[in-house]
């Protein structure tokens, strides 16, 4: 990988130049929570000043710029002979600034499903190809456990990745497009001093992880503890609201709805993101529900994340951002559930 540095002043110029012609998305505070902390989201920015490079955590993940909550898959135009199907893929270019390593790793996991397995998804592909990603390092928060999930660093899946080393950013460059852009703003060669400062910052970040989750035996544990009381204990709290899936950077399951416009001249087939915790997730016509209870649905959420995905792609689906833990109205966090599972396993031994 190539490395350069860019001064913060030049970075500002670069963002302003990007803003001229492109849609730019970045972390922006939208509100404050009950304790007065800012609530951030990835939103369209109109000026460099709106971009909050010191943001802590975005409430929902930037995943939705690749997998929108709602997306039209096809339009049908009715006529005398039946209908004609029309399929259009979105192609407008976009820049996302400030994505964390965990969120970029989340995209890499989504790439596995959407691009690298069977039936590559054209909607996702078009969005991925048309998005320039500028990542940003940060010091972990209290509850970040991305280090345990091996997603605290990232080597590909982005165009530029910035690490703040004082008056400038240390930049990892991963695409030619980004290389050309960066060089227009007097990007500097990496000096010995830059390198040392970068290493110091990285060590500092590493030392600040407070939350750990032991996932080494998890795939096996998921099978062994399939009937465990732990699922009922946590599952009975679950309100089956689906908030966890909405904020999760890797959840990709969805449903399809079709509607006809009032003139009966056209219909739309629309995809909307769903959650495996919602009551009718596995309900079939005729009334049978394969997962009628909240605790069974919660168990399958974990089963897919920590067992199924590992079997398919040799990595768990979770990236350790704890957004689901923060968003959960019933106070269910992945760390608590996994710790509980491991504890029962140890007690039995």
């Amino acid at each position: 990988m190539l490395f350069k540095t860019i001064t913060k002043e030049n970075f500002k110029k670069m963002v302003e130049a990007l803003l001229e012609e492109n849609e730019v998305i970045g972390p922006k505070s939208r509100d404050r929570d009950t304790e007065g902390n800012k609530i951030y989201r990835f939103l369209k920015i109109n000026s460099f000043e709106e971009l909050e490079m010191d943001y802590t955590r975005s409430y929902s993940s930037p995943k939705n710029y690749f997998l929108p909550f709602k997306e039209d898959l096809a339009t049908y135009h009715f006529n005398d002979k039946g209908w004609e199907q029309e399929i259009q893929y979105t192609t407008h270019p976009r820049v996302i600034i400030g994505m964390r390593a965990c969120d970029i790793n989340a995209l890499l996991k989504l790439d596995q499903v959407m691009l690298k397995s069977v039936y590559p998804n054209p909607h996702y592909f078009a969005r991925r190809r048309n998005t320039l990603i500028i990542g940003l390092d940060h010091e972990p928060l209290e509850d970040c456990f991305c280090r345990s999930m091996n997603t605290d660093t990232v080597f590909h899946g982005f165009d530029l990745f910035l690490t703040d080393i004082g008056d400038r950013y240390f930049v990892a460059i991963n695409s030619d497009t980004a290389y050309i852009i960066l060089n227009k703003f007097d990007a500097g060669e990496v000096t010995e001093e830059d390198r040392e400062r970068f290493k110091t910052v990285k060590k500092q970040i590493e030392s600040k992880f407070k939350t750990q989750v032991d996932i080494t035996i998890l795939p096996e544990l998921m099978d062994l503890e399939f009937e465990s009381e732990v699922w009922k204990k946590w599952g009975d709290k679950c309100l089956s609201c689906g908030s966890c899936a909405m904020v999760c950077p890797t959840c990709y399951c969805y449903g399809i709805e079709e509607d006809t416009d009032l003139s009966f001249s056209k219909a739309t087939k629309r995809k909307f993101l769903y959650s495996c915790n919602l009551l009718d997730f596995a309900a079939v016509a005729g009334g049978h529900n394969f997962r009628p209870d909240a605790h069974i649905r919660l168990k399958y959420r974990y089963y897919h994340q920590f067992r199924g995905f590992v079997e398919a792609f040799n990595q768990s689906l979770c990236v350790g951002c704890n957004r689901c833990g923060k968003a959960c109205l019933a106070g269910i966090s992945p760390k608590a559930v996994i710790d509980d599972l491991i504890r029962t396993e140890k007690l039995q031994k």
């Binding site: 012609e21 096809a74 192609t91 270019p93 820049v95 592909f125 048309n130 219909a267 399958y300 897919h304």
Partner: protein, 302 residues
């Protein structure tokens, strides 16, 4: 200074022009392209079920569409919805496919109201198939409960078309009430021409029913199964799988020679929507046809 990020227009890719080949699943990109198809005939089977004969209109697309017994398609009624339906016709019939549909939900309720000539969308075929090649030289035991007979028609046609390659074929078919028996107009043909043995049984008979009464498992008393030389295909409601497969494995049919076709909610057919996901297994990709060994290792499968 201003910078424009290069734009990539997927709509200009050559694949957009080609008819989609759903059998080429590692490169297929027109995931939403439905084959425009005409409902050419509707056979009313019972008060709940109808057989829809559906023909893909475009000759190029029709030629590309091939499937194997056990696979399913996503059937779409634009403006209404899309549902997974297993194919219930001969895989050598390249003119139309048969879809046996029970009116059970919102979309099937609308499909039930269709008339011949209606235009629907078809995507597929999707999923795994019964290993008909491997079954050559063996006896085949087909066990169906209720609507489960629909996906079994495809292997039945297959066996007839290559009859000498297979040994004894037995169909055990049970329904709750006599009025729910499907495809009884074919029973004579299956027995006399296809040379299959067919046993039917009814759970709740009416006064006119003269045949056997009981559960599907009661039919096992009447058939002699050679476990070393038999493949089994089982399709029916989840509760039936349990008892039937337990019996078959007790008498010594290896679990790898027992095949079941599972039902799940599906919204894509392509392993993306996760609605049919059980851990790492997708019923749409790894199924709907599974061997019983796999099913036993699948949590919550049946």
């Amino acid at each position: 200074m201003n910078i424009k990020i290069p734009q990539y227009d997927i709509n200009l890719e050559p694949f957009m022009e080609r008819p989609p080949d759903f059998n080429n699943k590692s490169v297929l990109m027109q995931t939403e392209k439905g084959f425009k198809s005409e409902v050419i005939n509707i056979v009313k089977l019972t008060s709940q079920e109808k057989l829809f004969q559906v023909r893909i209109l475009d000759s190029c697309e029709r030629e590309k569409f091939t499937f194997l017994p056990g696979q399913f398609v996503m059937l779409e009624l634009p403006g209404c919805g899309e549902i997974p339906i297993s194919i219930s016709s001969s895989s050598s019939n390249r003119e139309f496919i048969g879809l046996c549909i029970r009116k059970a939900g919102k979309v099937t309720g609308m499909i039930d109201r269709l008339e011949p000539g209606a235009i629907v969308g078809i995507r597929g075929p999707f999923g795994t198939h019964f290993p008909m090649q491997k079954m050559k030289g063996y006896n085949i035991l087909l066990i169906a409960g209720g609507l489960g007979i629909a996906p079994l028609r495809s292997p039945i046609y297959w066996v007839n078309e290559q009859r000498s390659a297979y040994k004894d074929i037995t169909i055990l078919y049970g329904t709750r009430e006599p009025g729910q028996i499907l495809f009884d107009y074919q029973f004579e043909e299956w027995q006399k021409i296809y040379n299959l043995k067919l046993l039917t049984i009814i759970q709740e008979p009416d006064e006119n029913w003269k045949g056997r009464v009981g559960l599907i498992t009661d039919l096992f008393k009447e058939v002699r199964i050679d476990p070393d030389n038999t493949f089994a295909i089982v399709c029916g409601p989840p509760v039936m799988f349990k008892f039937v497969c337990a019996y078959l494995s007790d008498i010594g049919i290896p679990r790898q020679r027992m095949f079941v076709s599972l039902e799940r909610r599906m919204h894509c057919g392509m392993g993306k929507c996760c609605r049919c996901n059980v851990g790492s297994t997708f019923t749409c990709l790894d199924g709907p046809v599974f061997d019983y060994w796999t099913v036993m290792n699948l949590k919550e499968a049946i």
